[in-house]
Symmetry: C2
Subunit: 381 residues, 2 copies
C-alpha cells in the first residue's frame, strides 16, 4: 500500500453533552480536523458509529454529516464494527485513498450515548454480543467481560487489586488532557472501595458511557508544513463474537493476528513501539491487549502494570491521555480518539503527557469482546 499521511485531527471533550445534537457533535470534531489540515474539503467521508440508529433515531450519518459540513455532494458512508467502528472507518478511508479513488478522506467517529436511559444503552451495547447465543439470554456486555476476568484470575492467580494499576495509570494520564471525561487521579484505596458493577468488575475497572466525537484527515500527499505523520501499518482481523466459540477466551486471537501483521508491515517489533493506545474498555481488556500485542507473556500483564512499565516514563506508555477508562469511551468514536492521541504524541504536542522522542505509536481498537480488532501503527518521519 502506498504511504498515506494524517494531515489533521480534531476532538471534542468527552462528557455528557446535552447541548449538542449528534450531527453538531460530529461536526465540531470534523471542523477542527479540517482546520488543522488546512487542505480544503476532503473527497470522501467515513463515519464510525455503533448505535445511533437506536440511541439517536438517526442512521445515514455519512450523508447527514457531509451535508452539515457543506461537503457538496461528496461521497460519505458509515462503518460499523461495534466498539471498533472508529478504526474500521479509518481503515476503510485509508483503503479508499490507497486505491486512488480518493486523494483525501475525512474520518469521523461519533457516539452520543447519554441522551437515552441507561437501560436502553445497556441493551444497545449488548447488540455487539451474539444475539442468538448471548444477547437474547440477557447477558450484558460488562457481564461477558466479568466472565473473562474471573477466568483470568482463576487461571493465573491474580486478585482484583492487581488490576488497579491499569485504572490508576489511566486516570493519572487524564488529569492534564482537556478532552478527557475524568480529570481526576485515583488511588489504590479508591479502587478497592469502588462499587461493584458485575463481579469481579468494579466501577473503576469500567470505562464510562459518554458522548464524544473525534476526526482525522487523511491525505495521499504529505502536508506542506509541520511534522510528517504517516500510516506505517493498518491491519484488521476478526474472531467469533460469542465467547463460547473461542478456543481460549483468555486470548485475543484477532489482536495477535492483527498486531503481528502490523509489525510486519511497519518492519518493526514490539520493542520499537514508543506508546500504545490500547482498548481498555475494562481492566481485563487492557491486560489481554498487552499480552496479545506481544508486550508480555499470557497472564503477565498485571505484573507489567504493577511494575510501572505502562507509565509515561515506563518501557511501554499506554493510555497516555487517559485511555478508554479515563478519557472516556463513546464507543463508535473511541478508535478515532486513539488515533488522534497517537498523532498528538508523534507531533510532540501531548503537553505534560508527552512521551519523549516518540516516533512509533500504535493504536488498537476492539469490537465486541475481541471479535473485531484493528491495529494501526503511525510513524513520525
Amino acid at each position: 500500500m502506498q504511504k498515506i499521511f494524517i494531515a489533521g485531527i480534531g476532538q471534542t471533550p468527552v462528557r455528557e453533552n446535552w447541548e449538542k445534537s449528534l450531527k453538531e457533535l460530529a461536526g465540531d470534531a470534523a471542523l477542527l480536523a479540517l482546520e488543522d489540515a488546512n487542505l480544503g474539503y476532503p473527497e470522501g467521508l467515513f463515519v464510525g458509529n455503533m448505535m445511533s440508529g437506536s440511541a439517536n433515531h438517526q442512521l445515514q450519518l455519512g450523508a447527514l454529516l457531509a451535508d452539515w459540513l457543506g461537503m457538496h455532494h461528496r461521497e460519505a458512508f458509515g462503518l460499523e464494527a461495534a466498539c471498533g467502528s472508529g478504526a474500521a472507518a479509518f481503515r476503510a478511508g485509508l483503503m479508499a485513498v490507497a486505491s486512488g479513488e480518493l486523494s483525501s478522506a475525512l474520518i469521523v467517529g461519533v457516539e452520543k450515548m447519554t441522551d437515552s436511559p441507561l437501560a436502553e444503552i445497556t441493551a444497545s451495547l449488548a447488540t455487539a454480543a451474539d444475539a442468538d447465543l448471548e444477547g437474547d439470554f440477557g447477558v450484558s456486555f460488562v457481564a461477558l467481560n466479568a466472565l473473562i476476568m474471573r477466568r483470568y484470575m482463576h487461571e493465573y492467580g491474580w486478585g482484583t487489586s492487581d488490576f488497579a494499576a491499569f485504572s490508576i495509570n489511566a486516570h493519572k494520564n487524564a488529569v492534564h488532557n482537556p478532552y478527557a471525561r475524568f480529570n481526576k487521579a485515583i488511588s489504590l484505596s479508591d479502587y478497592e472501595r469502588a462499587g461493584m458493577v458485575c463481579e469481579p468488575i468494579n466501577l473503576l475497572d469500567a470505562s464510562p458511557v459518554s458522548d464524544g466525537a473525534a476526526a482525522v484527515f487523511l491525505s495521499a500527499t504529505p502536508p506542506p508544513t509541520g511534522k510528517r505523520i504517516s500510516i506505517a501499518a493498518s491491519s484488521a482481523a476478526s474472531d467469533s463474537i460469542s465467547l463460547q466459540h473461542r478456543k481460549n477466551p483468555l486470548r485475543l486471537f484477532a489482536a495477535e493476528e492483527s498486531a503481528q501483521k502490523a509489525y510486519a508491515q511497519a518492519g518493526i517489533s514490539p520493542r520499537d513501539i514508543d506508546l500504545f493506545e490500547y482498548h481498555d474498555a475494562f481492566s481485563i481488556m487492557a491486560a489481554l491487549s498487552l499480552e496479545a500485542a506481544g508486550f508480555c507473556e499470557p497472564g503477565q500483564a498485571p505484573r507489567l502494570a504493577n511494575d510501572g512499565e505502562i507509565a509515561i516514563q515506563g518501557q511501554l506508555p499506554v493510555a497516555t491521555l487517559g485511555g478508554l477508562k479515563a478519557r472516556g469511551h463513546p464507543v463508535g468514536a473511541t478508535g478515532v480518539y486513539q488515533l488522534a492521541e497517537v498523532v498528538l504524541q508523534l507531533r510532540g504536542d501531548a503537553g505534560l503527557n508527552q512521551v519523549e522522542g516518540a516516533k512509533w505509536g500504535m493504536s488498537q481498537n476492539i469490537g465486541g469482546s475481541g471479535s473485531n480488532i484493528i491495529t494501526h501503527i503511525l510513524h513520525q518521519e
Copy 2:
C-alpha cells in the same frame, strides 16, 4: 483504479423468512457466492445492512458472518448508508481490493425486516430521514416520498395512473425470477384499485418490506473460467438528507453526479447502457432515477414507461428481474441484489428475462430519499 472482476454471486429468495436467523440468511447467500466463484475464502468481508441493530438486536455483522462462514480471522466490517448500504459495502470492498490490501472480497447485503412489528420497522426506516428535521416529527419514509410524488404531479401534470407502467413492468419481470417476492403480473386496473398507503402513493407504488440476502465475490484477477464481468465504473455522491434542504426536491442531484462520473469512468454514454437496475422503492423514485441518470428530460420518465421503452425488449430495460417493487426491497441487501442481477444479465443467465446481447449493465442504489446514491457500471468483456 485497476480492473476488478465479479467472480461469483448468490441470492436467497426474497420473502418473509421466519425459518432462518439473520446470520443463516446472510450465510446462505454468501455460501452460494463462494461456491459460484470457486476461489476459496476471500481475504475480506463487507456487509451491507441498515437496521439489524434495532430489528434483530444484532450489530457487528461483519465478525458475526465471518465466523459463521468459517473465514478464520479474516477482516470483516459493516457498511451503512440506509437503503444504499448494499452498494456502499460493494464500493468499500471494491476500493479495498483496488488498494492492493486485499486480493479478494466478499460483499454481502442482508436485511431481515419481518420478524418485528410493522410499526417498529416503520420507525427503523424513518432513521434514514433527518431525525432533527423530519423523523422526530413523525414523518414516515413513505410520507416523504408522497410529498415528492405530489409535487412532481403538480409540476409536470401527470396523474396517478401515469405511474402504473413502472409497477406493471416490474411485476411482469418478476414472474420468472425465482428469487422475487411477487411472481405475479399486475394490470392497470389492479393498480387503480390498490389501497392507498399515503396519498398519492398506493400499495402498488410501494416496494414490500422483506427478508433477503445477496452476495457478490470480488477478485483482483479474472476468474479462470466463464464470462469475464468487470467493474467499469463505481461512483458515489451524497446530498442533504432532509428534503427541505434540497435546491429542488424533484431532482436527484446525487444521482446526476454519481451517474455522470460513472459514464465518464466507463467511457460510455447513457445510450450504451443495455439495462438499468434502478432503485424503484416507490414509483416516484423510479421516475426521478431515470431522469437523473440522463435517460430522459426532467418530468418525462412516465412517458418513457408508458411508451414501453423500459420493457425487456425496449430501449432501456429496467428492473429486469422485478426491481425493488416486485423482487422485493430488503433494504440493506437491495444494492447487492441489483449487482447480482446485472451479473446474471451480462452472463446471459437471466432466462426468460434475458436482455439480448447485454454488455453494459448499470445499477443505482439510493439511500434515503436521494441523500446517498451509488452507481455501478458492469461490463461483459
